[in-house]
């Protein structure tokens, strides 16, 4: 009695998780990625000063995770019910584990941002009430940074685990997804923080921090491309459901988002700007900002593609 009975109708209409969730995945990835890269550099170079890149990362990490939370809450059917997710827990649920990680991560990010932006806070009289708090918490800075590094990577990875638990979508239900989200979070987070460090905190575009970032971003981008290739290969060589989901890569508007947005802008943009143009342009500030924007928008396209194309191809 193989395949004798099936139904195609459903009780809910449209995709269950629309664009605010993709935007949340994007913000959470930027937040975790930016902070992890900054703290990696801080620990690796044993920095004790507040470098412009750390300031930019801490600021971005805090702002993006706050905006991400806004997306999450507004996507609930009734945003006033959000407290229930903070009160009731089910440890079998990835979302519940993520809520625990986030409720430790968000206050810690705020703390890291306070320490990193201490000079700026001192300059603004309206933020003066924060100063005694910074002084009181100063002994915890080092351990807070170590803990938040682990949590930042966990937040990046959790967004992948969160959706890979959906067994009916072959594109999404893959164990590579958390790794892909960590890699793309690191690259987009670093790009966003880099732009802010140069633009707002007056970092020199050729400083040693920027040199390290520049060296790290190509291997990370390569890892990202490799993970995407792994997902595509597992779909092509997979069972009938996986093979039908492979269609997402060559039919419909979401395939355009993938090829133009993820591959063209996200991978092709930075590569062309850095290697295919003359040395004068590729070292200019226009090229610097443009390639940063390419990395960030490529990552946004990736989240949109995974979420929408993924949910459109169910087994």
């Amino acid at each position: 009695m193989d395949g004798t009975l099936e139904f195609t109708m459903g009780l809910s209409e449209g995709v269950a998780w629309p664009w605010p969730i993709a935007v949340y995945l994007f913000f959470a990835g930027i937040s975790g990625g930016a902070l992890s890269v900054a703290l990696f550099i801080r620990f690796y170079k044993q920095q004790s000063a507040n470098t412009p890149f750390l300031k930019a990362s801490a600021l971005i990490a805090f702002v993006t995770i706050a905006l991400g939370m806004l997306c999450l809450v507004l996507d609930l059917t009734n945003p006033l019910f959000f407290w229930r997710i903070l009160v009731y827990y089910n440890l079998n649920s990835v979302m519940s584990v993520g809520v625990i990680a986030l409720s430790a991560y968000i206050p810690l990010v705020a703390l890291i941002a306070l320490f990193a932006l201490e000079e700026e806070i001192r300059r603004l009289p309206m933020l003066a009430p924060l100063l005694p708090l910074i002084d009181k918490l100063r002994p915890w800075r080092r351990s807070g940074e170590a803990l938040v590094l682990v949590l930042a990577l966990a937040v990046c990875a959790y967004t992948g685990f969160l959706i890979s638990a959906l067994i009916r979508f072959p594109i999404i239900n893959t164990s590579v997804l958390p790794a892909l989200f960590v890699a793309s979070g690191l690259s987009a987070g670093a790009a966003a923080a880099k732009m802010l460090a140069v633009g707002l905190f007056k970092e020199d575009r050729h400083s040693s921090d920027m040199q390290i970032l520049h060296g790290a971003e190509w291997p990370i981008m390569f890892a990202e491309a490799l993970f995407l290739f792994m997902i595509i290969m597992s779909l092509v060589t997979g069972n009938a459901g996986a093979q039908s989901a492979f269609e997402a890569f060559h039919t419909g508007s979401w395939s355009m988002v993938f090829w133009l947005g993820v591959v063209g802008v996200g991978f092709g943009g930075p590569l062309l700007l850095n290697f295919a143009t003359g040395e004068r342009f590729s070292h200019s500030s226009q090229a610097f900002y443009l390639s940063g924007l390419c990395a960030v928008s490529g990552m946004m396209c990736l989240r949109m593609f995974i979420l929408y194309a993924g949910q459109n191809f169910a087994i």
Binding site: L5, M9, A16, F81, I85
Partner: protein, 234 residues
């Protein structure tokens, strides 16, 4: 001679040993515990359903759902191939075939909605094992809706929380009655009962009829069984 004694001793030891070891392998305790727990199943007989929709209305009324909303819908299907003559009436374009499929919560034994729900609002009733909702815990995150491979969950527009067919656990079953749709069905297309009770009608029906489960390969172990129409026309 000595060989004989050895053999006799060997057989004796074998006998005594098996008498001592055999009881260790038999434990009755587990089996009785399993018998006590019910496994409620519903059988939908496609051969009997005429698509009257009475089950939907009964569901709507029994569970106080918003106007026009039920926890069950019927999908009309046709085995006709587009562009070819209908196997029933011979016309190329017709709506003569009345073949329906019940679409509702499959009451999975291994339910994705229960494992992903962050608040435990989608849970298994401890007494009956039926997947049901605790509306007071649901945050409306729609994780269960995304996770359900049967697309059998929805947001109740009045309460703003997720909802699913729970065999009328909180309405009819609580009063000791059959689910509303089963009571309403005039064509006996729906049968409900405890599959763990060998004497229940549903157990005896499943023992003699071929039934299928939808998307059984996903490993969700649905408790809704379907008796499909396997032969069409004359």
């Amino acid at each position: 001679m000595s060989e004989n004694i050895e053999r006799r001793r060997f057989l004796k030891c074998l006998g005594a040993g098996s008498l001592m070891l055999a009881p260790l392998g038999c434990s009755v305790k587990e089996q009785t515990a399993q018998d006590a727990a019910p496994h409620y199943v519903m059988v939908f007989d496609q051969n009997k359903c005429v698509g009257c929709g009475g089950c939907k209305e009964a569901c709507n009324k029994a569970n106080n759902l918003p106007e026009g909303r039920s926890r069950v819908v019927l999908e009309q299907q046709s085995s006709a191939v587009a562009g070819q003559a209908c196997p029933h009436c011979g016309k190329t374009d017709c709506d003569c075939q009345r073949k329906y499929v019940r679409v509702s919560c499959q009451q999975c034994q291994n339910a994705p909605c229960v494992s992903v729900c962050p608040t435990g609002a989608a849970h298994r009733d401890p007494k009956t094992g039926i997947v049901t909702m605790d509306a007071s815990k649901c945050a409306g995150c729609k994780y269960c809706i995304a996770a359900c491979p049967y697309n059998a969950r929805y947001i109740n527009s009045e309460t703003d929380v997720a909802d699913n067919c729970d065999f009328c656990l909180q309405s009819k079953l609580a009063k000791g009655e059959l689910p509303a749709c089963v009571q309403e069905c005039r064509y006996d297309a729906l049968v409900f009962g405890d599959a763990n009770d060998p004497n229940s009608y549903v157990s005896r029906l499943l023992a003699v009829k071929d039934s299928v489960r939808v998307k059984a390969h996903l490993g969700t172990e649905p408790s809704l069984r379907y008796i499909p129409i396997v032969k069409l026309g004359v």
